[in-house]
């Protein structure tokens, strides 16, 4: 049962550049949006994969980083008062008899809306699952990719694998309540913040935890309960005893629940028409990297164009029978008022 129900015009799935620009284009037509994203921040791939890397093919911006572009799109969308719901994934989408939609997230929010815009890029960012033999058998019982409740890890023999901030943060946070703590990384160099690395090294020096250099080759245990991991290091193979393992190998994109929403799919992409960017289901649109059509280019600028055309049709669905007047932001006092510049 959802803990909160929100009624709105449009739910946008994905807060990447296309989702953010859709807020703007829909906003010009007085359409209110809620945006859901699995990451803890806006920007999608721009913010997660390459915040510092320059993009050279945004019209009018000869050079802009992923983070700058995200910041500017957020600023551009702000006058329309969108509401963002981060750290959650839309898990289900249902069409009701009256043609409206009901969506639920894995953080117990329920949305009721008239239009859904899938701007989910390459899918949702999910933790990478290391391809260790038999890891599936232990997932959810002994192997975890995130920490939801710290208490669940009390008095466990924990093995954390990785060298970034997630790995080091959880080493330092869980060490005090764990029965034993071991960190395993492939090299004795860590990407994580120097503070966390120093803290970990102090714990090691004080004999409160173990640090090993190597890579897991195999897992041991029975009935879903882990008893240890075989590790290959520079000096050969050895075993680490543990009943809980937390691998932190970064994020990867998986199509995720979008595949279960009853939409037609072609090789994990959603086919749309190029007039309205509508999917096989009336009221559901797909824009950006997640859609496909003849001639599709996976460029941010294509997604912007798609957002603009999609918005026209979304208006007609939300306001049946109403005439849509095409206006320019340069000359329309009505649009300028909405943007807060008139």
């Amino acid at each position: 049962m959802a803990s909160q129900t929100i009624e709105t015009d449009v739910v946008i799935v994905g807060a990447g550049p296309c989702g953010l620009f859709a807020v703007f284009e829909l906003g010009l037509l007085d359409i209110k949006c809620h945006v859901v994203d699995i990451l803890d921040k806006p920007g999608g791939q721009c913010a997660e994969l390459y915040p510092e890397k320059p993009i050279y093919d945004i019209p009018g911006l000869p050079i802009v980083t992923g983070q700058e572009l995200t910041d500017r799109l957020m600023e551009q969308a702000a006058p329309f008062g969108p509401q963002y719901h981060y750290n959650q994934m839309v898990t289900s989408l249902r069409k009701l008899n009256d043609g409206t939609f009901e969506l639920e997230t894995d953080d117990d929010i329920q949305f009721k809306c008239k239009v859904v815009v899938v701007a989910a890029g390459g899918g949702s960012f999910q933790p990478k699952k290391p391809p260790m033999p038999s890891i599936d058998e232990y997932e959810g019982t002994s192997v975890f990719y995130s920490v939801k409740r710290m208490e669940d890890f009390r008095d466990k023999d924990i093995l954390i694998v990785g060298g970034g901030d997630s790995a080091l943060d959880w080493v330092n946070n869980l060490q005090p309540i764990a029965k034993s703590m071991t960190l395993l990384h492939r090299r004795d160099d860590f990407r994580a913040a120097p503070d966390s690395v120093n803290k970990m090294r102090e714990l090691v020096a004080a004999g409160k935890m173990n640090l090993h250099i190597g890579q897991v080759t195999n897992l041991h245990g029975s009935d879903g309960v882990l008893s240890g991991a075989s590790v290959k290091g520079k000096e050969g193979e050895f075993e680490i005893a543990c009943n809980t393992m937390l691998p932190f190998f970064g994020l990867t994109m998986k199509l995720g629940p979008v595949a279960e929403w009853g939409l037609n799919l072609e090789e994990n992409l959603i086919p749309v028409d190029t007039e309205k960017f509508a999917t096989s289901e009336r009221g559901i649109f797909a824009i950006g990297d997640i859609n496909t059509y003849p001639g599709k280019l996976k460029l941010i600028l294509s997604g912007f164009h798609e957002a603009a055309l999609m918005s026209q049709e979304a208006f007609r669905i939300i306001n049946p029978g109403e005439r849509l007047l095409f206006q320019y932001t340069t000359s329309s006092s009505n649009l300028q008022k909405k943007l807060g510049v008139a």
Binding site: Q45, Y50, P131, G162, R186, G250
Partner: protein, 106 residues
Amino acid sequence: MAKITFIEHNGKEHIVDGENGMSVMETAIKNMVPGIDADCGGACACATCHVYLQGDWADKLGERSEMEEDMLDFAFEVQDSSRLSCQIRVSDDIDGLVLKVPEKQF
């Protein structure tokens, strides 16, 4: 120009021509070599173009950059011969390069 040999996990060889200035990853994608995913498109941000250099190529190509080293933390079964193919530039110097593609980019 450089002849580059990609060896798939199952042993199948793909011998392709690399154009100077392109990356080895781009050369693989252009020639549809299976097993190089390159999710991020060459930004050294995903570690899904992981390859193993064969023979003495690891010595010839020199050290990995710090960024590449960091990103390899996200790859699986990293070895001394591991590189991210988006970070290797094609030039006449790498003519004859041989590399293995891992079983899975994950």
